[in-house]
Every structure is written in structure tokens, then in C-alpha cells.
Symmetry: C2
Subunit: 93 residues, 2 copies
Amino acid sequence: MSKEQNIVYIGRKPTMNYVLAVITSFNSTDTKEATLKARGRSITTTVDVAEIVRRKFMKELKAGKITIGTEEIEQEEGGTRNVSTIEITLTRG
Amino acid sequence: MSKEQNIVYIGRKPTMNYVLAVITSFNSTDTKEATLKARGRSITTTVDVAEIVRRKFMKELKAGKITIGTEEIEQEEGGTRNVSTIEITLTRG
């Protein structure tokens, strides 16, 4: 992990796994921010992770920029479908 | 619906129901913005609704402010549990 870019991809593991990953990424580097990225059903988990880290563990963090978007996914059976994405940046105050 | 506040609460109905509700709220009033609100599992649907409205139907809209938060829910069996919330404001360009 470089100093500039701490990215945590959120998937289908238990929420607390990602909470720990975010806290670790802040503590193992002197970075000022970490970005959580997810798509589809994991978007809800991503908001949960951001809120739990901020409210229970690192109260000095602020939810910085939140952006949403759409990605086209190639389907095995041909064609594409759209899936929503989210990025939440947490910044050390 | 007043001119100032167009709020669409997102729940468990099909995504396109909410897409239609958002478009209607823009067309039936001369409001400049609509706010989508949701909590828990509906957060993903909310991002989908915002993206579909913006990309397919009303390309002049911008995703304005996005905020996340936590609400305490009273449980029937006593005690509370936390649930994440999201608010996405769509603004007419």
C-alpha cells in the first residue's frame, strides 16, 4: 500500500473483516485517507463499514467524498448489464 | 409535495417504481431537486434508482450531496440496533 492510495474493496465477507482492514490501513501507514469501493449488493455493507469505523473505532475520521456510478459488466451468456458502484473516502481529521 | 422538499423514501418495492416516483416528482412540480432516502438493505436500491434516473431518463440531473449516517432502531424484543442510512440529492442542472 502506498502512502497516497489506501483502497479497500468491499465484497461478501463479514462486515467486521472490512472494518478491521480499514483500521489496519490507517494504522500501518501514515496515510490521511482510505477509500472504500464496492458495487452491487455490497454497497450497503460499504456504508455499514464506513459508519462503524467512524462511530466506534476512529472518531477522528470524517466521511469525505462519496461518489456513485455505474459499471457495465460483461455477462457470460453475452451482452452486458449495469451495476451501481460507490466510493466512500474516509479522511483523518 | 412542497416546492422546497421533494423526498422519495426507498424501500423494498421494485426499483422501477421508485425511478418513476422520482421522475414524477420532478415533472409535477417546478422543483430543482429531489432527495432519495433509505436505510439498511435498501441503500443499494437507492444508488440504483439515482443512477437509472440520471443515465436513462433525465440526463440533465446531477448527483448532488450524498450523505450517510446511522439510526438507532428500537427492537420489539427490547434494546436497539444500529442501521445505516443514505441520502442522495439529485439536482436539475
